[in-house]
Structure formats: structure tokens, C-alpha cells
């Protein structure tokens, strides 16, 4: 079943629904992708929760996937936009799940609302989320080296494979997704990560929170995720041994198992 297209500020926003047919009063789960990605990274969990009867919103951030640009270059803007999307979709009290840059959007959104977020899941997270100069510079110049850096560092050193998803070479999947980004989008995303102010609002997050870290994450080290979990009042940490930053590709089943607990909170 096709996803939904809505208008926010006069621009088309695509929202994937995991092929669900939920009741309008069903609980909601929202997925926010990372830098340079789109909603397709959530295919497995989106389809799972849709089958469970939840209303699923796997958004394409502005300028990503099927959503019109331009992209934002501030996490605060993305979080405010997410609030508008959920209002438009009439999805109150959603479980909000974000990966990498999307985890910062989810984090900020959760901090901005008392009732709009009933549960939070932060995957491959770090606050702050600094980006190296070589990656920033290559992204600024729309150079393929930016894609190569991000893609290589997003996968564990075990990237020679043995993917649980039959036949899939996840390095190329990540590369193709980044290649689909329009010029400037990846740089805007990295700028948003790099300038994220971690000190602004974290104390106001009260909802149950899941933090998933990969022990071999080179983009957002496990220690950084642990720090995020320890800064929150009701956080549960899941550590995936041997897993890199691209945990949705590397450990799809373990990630889903962890999400089930918090999304059904």
C-alpha cells in the first residue's frame, strides 16, 4: 500500500506506512532516518508495527526520498517540522524512533512536548554529534568521498558481510541511498549534526527511552550512546556486540526485538 503524501508549508512530505491498514485511533510509531538516508531504512520495523495494527509514519525529511526540499540544516528545525507532520497526521502521543541524525530529531522533539511523545528510541546516537572536517568538506563539495567515508565508517569492521538479510550487500545499499541524495542535502544534514546543542533541553525528557548502541560504531561510539542514556531519567540501554552504526542493516532482528519493548510501552 502506498505511503501518504501531505503538504507542510506548501511542500510535499512523504510518509511511509509499512503497508498498514490501521484503525484511526490506533497508537502511533514514528521513524526518523539519518543523514542522507530516507524512510526505506525502516522497511522491516515499519512493516512489523504496521502488521501489529499501529499507525506507522516513516517520514522522509525535507529534501530526502520523496519529500520536497530544501533540507534543513538545524536539528531544531527538523524537530519542529516533525511536530507539524504529526499534527497534520493527527498522531498524538507517538512512539518516536530515530537513527543517527534522526535520533537527534527525535530527542529534540521529545524534549519539546510533554504529551506528543509517549516513548522514545535513539539508535546510534550521540549528543553532541560532531562530524570530522574531511567528511564535512567532502560533503560540502558534493564529492563522492563523503559517501565513501560515511558509508565505510557506518559499518562495523565485520563488513565483509554474513548479512542476516539474504543476498544483501549492505555496503552498496548504504552507498546507493547516499548517492540518491540531491546535491547539498548530505552537507545540510551533517551541518545539523555538527551544530547540535546537546545542552539545550535534555532534562525535560521524561518518557521511557530506549538507547541502542553498537560496540563497533565508528560514527557515534557506544560510549557516547551510553552517556545519552545516563543523562535521561527513564532510559534502557541495549548494546549490540560487534555491530556498527548501520545497525538497521547489520542487526535488523535484534534492533526490532529491542524496539518492540519500547514502542509497545
Amino acid at each position: 500500500m502506498s505511503g501518504t503524501r501531505i503538504q507542510i508549508d506548501g511542500r510535499t512530505v512523504y510518509v511511509g506506512n509499512g503497508s498498514g491498514h490501521p484503525d484511526t485511533d490506533a497508537e502511533s510509531v514514528v521513524f526518523v532516518h539519518g543523514a542522507g538516508m530516507d524512510h526505506t531504512v525502516w522497511a522491516f520495523p515499519a512493516r512489523y508495527f504496521a502488521r501489529q495494527g499501529l499507525r506507522v509514519a516513516a517520514v522522509d525529511l525535507p529534501g530526502h526520498g520523496r519529500s520536497e526540499g530544501p533540507p534543513f540544516d538545524r536539528i531544531d528545525d527538523m524537530a519542529a517540522w516533525l511536530g507539524e507532520v504529526l499534527d497534520a497526521l493527527a498522531m498524538p502521543a507517538a512512539a518516536v524512533v530515530g537513527h543517527s541524525m534522526g535520533s537527534l530529531v527525535a530527542y529534540r522533539f521529545a524534549a519539546s512536548t510533554t504529551e506528543g511523545c509517549r516513548a522514545l528510541a535513539l539508535l546510534g546516537t550521540s549528543a553532541p554529534m560532531p562530524v570530522t572536517d574531511p567528511l564535512m568538506n567532502a560533503a560540502r563539495d558534493n564529492h563522492h568521498a563523503a559517501i565513501d567515508m560515511a558509508n565505510t565508517w557506518s559499518h562495523s569492521t565485520g563488513t565483509l558481510g554474513a548479512n542476516a538479510n539474504p543476498g544483501v550487500w549492505m555496503l552498496a545499499v548504504g552507498e546507493r541511498l547516499l548517492e540518491r541524495s540531491a546535491p547539498g542535502v548530505f552537507h545540510a544534514d551533517l551541518t545539523a549534526c555538527n551544530t547540535f546543542d546537546a545542552n539545550a533541553t535534555d532534562a525535560s525528557i521524561r518518557c521511557p527511552t530506549l538507547v541502542i548502541v553498537g560496540s563497533d560504531d565508528m560514527m557515534t561510539p557506544a560510549k557516547a550512546g551510553l552517556d545519552v542514556a545516563q543523562s535521561l531519567p527513564d532510559a534502557h540501554l541495549v548494546r549490540l556486540e560487534g555491530c556498527g552504526h548501520a545497525m538497521l542493516s547489520e542487526r535488523p532482528n535484534e534492533v526490532l526485538d529491542a524496539l518492540i519493548g519500547v514502542v509497545h510501552t
Binding site: M1, S2, G3, G16, G18, S19, D38, T40, A43, F44, P45, A46, R47, Y48, R51, G65, R66, P134, N137, A138, R140, D141, H143, H144, A145, A146, D148, M149, T152, W153, G158, T159, L160, G161, A162, N163, A164, N165, P166, G167, V168, W169, L171, A172, V173, R176, L177, R180, P252, N253, L256
Partner: protein
């Protein structure tokens, strides 16, 4: 900032991928080699997990027609070697071609294909697919413009072999890909003769690749198998011509593959429809054998090419030989293109015309002792065949000529033997052929 000031991290080398991609030591037993999971089905941890596997919510295996752990290693490894997002292992090269076509073409659609094709592929396109409403126009593989001119409103696929069979026309993949993409169509390449060690069509612009794994990939003439690789490069939605990928599929609960799986849309549909319904899966034992071949692919291909160059040089200088067709020769029309697209070598299959025509050819073949006369290529052992009487026997003289095949043309597949022994074998047979037809 200047272009050369940005540096990509070094990626894993081809030789390492050929040995390791897709596999880690078996977690349960520590087995270093890929185990053969000779099991039709796989136990579900619980009912919800089972539904999740069927509904593409979970990663794992259900039934070996759809996927199998041994096959998955092979699929992931060939994806890595071809720089694709994913692959599917199937029962034969023919099954691979059929799976690629049937995933995106339906009755009423049209294909533009090179006219220099493996006989089995020609049969499928010329005679069998029309029965299912899919027609093909065959064009000169050396003319990208001819591919473009043959494209119609209902064309859905452009297809060619990286090295034409048996004429060894080199497909100008970048140019033909541009023609296809200008028409919002994908380019499918049969890269059997090159293998990813000699050429990676996806990096040159192709969108889909398939192999007969029977040939160089397995490399020892012991299995029949095929592989389809999705580059993940083609934008099916932007094209607007591929409803199987962009419109709800009733056969899978109205799933829209391109929307939910993005760059994996083609391969997910191919597995969830093509393997499910047509069922041409690969045996896990076959996958194991192909994996053993892949592990030594780089060194085998180097040896295949080195031997071929020696044999080609010998034949070209031989008085009983009319002509030799090998893309690395300056006399070959695609010499420059071959050097550009196949810098490591133009493969180990080539053809030559023997003086004396059909009778000389028959005498020659019957007097070889190391070369085996059979219908295959890409074995570790050297092979020989006479296309007009075997692989292309259904084609009449005019069709043979159109495909660049003379009645006296002999095709060789050069193996891994000592090249001095191969040349000695050829020399004796040529001498006897010349004597018999004098």
C-alpha cells in the same frame, strides 16, 4: 577545494572479497568453510517471527526455494564483487535471464537486445518470450545508436552480453547505458564471459547483471547455476514505466516495492515473486561449489587470460588459420574498447576460422586430445566447439551470418593447463586438418 583533496577510505580489495564477502566462521561449529545447509526448511523461533519472515519484517530463511544460508553467502559475495546491492542465486544462467526479464517485463512489453548472443538466450528472446507477449528487437551490438533507434514506447529493457557470443563483440556499456537511460530504461548485461574480475558492468553504467555461474565463476565445469545482481542504481519511480515495482502488488498485500525498499526494489520483487512463483532456485550444494570457484577467481582469471594470449598469438601466426577473433588483437574492431573496458584481459573465450572450411574444422576438432569437444565454456580445462553445429544449430545460414558466425568458425575456451601443451595439441590438430583437406 580541489577534487583530489578529498580522499575516500580504502575499500576492501577484490581478492579479499572473493574469499570472505558474505561469510564468517560458522557461529555454532567454528567451521571456516561455508557449510552446505542442505535443508529444505528452517525452524521458526515462534509464530510471530514466522509471520515476520513471510511479511518481510525479519531477516532470515523460511524455505530454500526463497533463500538458503549457503546460497545467501554466494549471493552476498557476488553482490560485493559486482558492486551491487543484492543478488539472487538461481538454477542456471537461463533462469537468471528469465528472472531478470520476468521481474520487470509483462505481456505487451518489448526488449531491445544485442543480436550477438548465447544461443540459449537467443532462443528465449526470439521464440519463447513472444509466446508470453514479450517481443525483442535484435540490433548490432557495436552500435549504441541502433539500440536507441529500436526503442519503442513499450520497450522495458535494453540487453547485451559484455562479450558477444561467439563473435566477442565488446558491448560499449557506458554508451549503451546512456542510450537506455535517456529512454528511462535499465540496461541488463550478461557478464558471464568477463566475470567481475575483468569487468564490473554496474560501475560502467549497467543497472542489472547476470551470470551463468556454470562458467568461470564456478570454474570447474561441475555445476549448473545462475546469478542475478541488482545494482540498485535505476530509479524505477522516476522512469514511470515499471508498474511491477511502482504500483501495489496484489500478490503481496499491495506492497509497492520501490516505495518500501528503494534501491532494493528490483531484487526484493525478484525474490518475493520470481523465486516464489517460478521456483528456479539454486541447490545449496551448487552454491557451495560456486563459492569454491569464486575463492580462486582472481588467480584463475589471470591464468585463463595469460594462457589465452599465448594461444591467440600462436594461432594468429599459424599458416592453417584464416583469422583469429580476440578483442585484444589490433585487428579486432573492438580493440580500443576492450582495452578501455576490460583492461585486465578480454577473457578466455575466442574464435578463429580455420582454412578449409567445415571439413577442416571437423577434422581439427576430432584430432584434439587435450581440448574437449563439448557445449560449455569457462572450465578449468580447455574446451572447443563448432557453434554452427551445436549452440547455434537452430539458426539458418543468414541468421548465422547476421550474428557474425561463419560455418567454419571454431570457438575455444582456454583453460589452466600448461600453455605449451595446449599449443602442442592445437599444432598437431591443425597439421592433420591441413593434411586432410589438402
Amino acid at each position: 577545494m580541489a577534487d583530489d583533496e578529498h580522499r575516500s577510505p580504502r575499500s576492501t580489495g577484490f581478492d579479499t572479497l572473493a574469499l570472505h564477502a558474505g561469510q564468517r566462521p560458522d557461529a555454532a561449529t567454528g567451521a571456516r568453510a561455508t557449510p552446505i545447509y542442505q535443508s529444505a526448511s528452517f525452524v521458526f523461533p515462534d509464530s510471530d517471527f514466522a509471520v515476520g519472515l513471510f511479511n518481510i519484517e525479519r531477516a532470515g530463511h523460511v524455505y530454500s526455494r526463497l533463500s538458503n544460508p549457503t546460497n545467501a553467502v554466494l549471493e552476498e559475495r557476488i553482490s560485493a564483487l559486482e558492486h551491487g546491492v543484492a543478488a539472487i542465486a538461481v538454477a542456471s544462467g537461463q533462469a537468471a535471464m528469465h528472472l531478470a526479464v520476468s521481474t520487470i517485463c509483462s505481456a505487451g512489453d518489448h526488449i531491445v537486445a544485442s543480436r550477438s548472443l548465447y544461443g540459449g538466450t537467443h532462443n528465449l528472446l526470439q521464440y519463447t518470450l513472444p509466446r508470453f507477449g514479450i517481443e525483442t528487437t535484435f540490433v548490432d551490438p557495436r552500435s549504441p545508436a541502433a539500440f536507441g533507434a529500436a526503442i519503442r514506447d513499450n520497450t522495458r529493457l535494453v540487453f547485451g552480453e559484455i562479450l558477444g557470443n561467439p563473435g566477442l563483440e565488446v558491448l560499449d556499456v557506458p554508451a549503451v547505458a546512456e542510450v537506455a537511460h535517456d529512454a528511462d530504461l535499465p540496461l541488463l548485461v550478461d557478464s558471464t564471459f568477463a566475470t567481475p574480475y575483468l569487468c564490473r558492468p554496474i560501475d560502467l553504467g549497467a543497472d542489472l547483471v547476470f551470470h551463468s555461474a556454470t562458467k568461470f565463476l564456478s570454474g570447474h565445469g561441475i555445476v549448473i547455476g545462475g546469478l542475478v545482481i541488482d545494482g540498485g542504481t535505476f530509479d524505477w519511480e522516476a522512469s514511470g514505466k515499471f508498474p511491477t515495482l511502482t504500483e501495489p502488488y496484489e500478490g503481496f498485500h499491495d506492497l509497492v516495492f520501490a516505495e518500501e525498499f528503494g534501491p532494493q526494489a528490483f531484487i526484493v520483487r525478484a525474490r518475493r515473486e520470481g523465486l516464489r512463483d517460478f521456483g528456479a532456485c539454486m541447490s545449496p550444494t551448487t552454491a557451495f561449489h560456486v563459492l569454491q570457484g569464486l575463492e580462486t577467481l582472481p588467480i584463475r582469471m589471470d591464468k585463463h587470460v595469460a594462457n589465452t594470449r599465448e594461444v591467440v598469438a600462436f594461432l594468429e601466426a599459424h599458416e592453417a588459420v584464416e583469422s583469429v577473433s580476440y578483442p585484444e588483437l589490433p585487428s579486432h574492431p573492438d580493440h580500443d574498447l576492450s582495452a578501455r573496458l576490460l583492461p585486465r584481459g578480454a577473457g578466455a573465450v575466442f574464435s578463429f576460422d580455420i582454412k578449409g572450411g567445415r571439413d577442416a574444422g571437423r577434422t581439427f576438432i576430432e584430432n584434439l586430445s587435450i581440448f574437449s569437444h563439448l557445449a560449455n565454456v569457462g572450465d578449468a580445462k580447455s574446451l572447443v566447439i563448432h557453434p554452427a553445429s551445436t549452440t547455434h544449430h537452430r539458426m539458418d545460414a543468414d541468421a548465422l551470418a547476421a550474428a557474425g558466425i561463419g560455418e567454419g568458425l571454431v570457438r575455444l575456451s582456454i583453460g589452466l593447463e600448461d600453455p605449451r601443451d595446449l599449443i602442442g595439441d592445437l599444432s598437431r590438430a591443425l597439421r592433420r586438418a591441413a593434411r586432410a583437406t589438402r
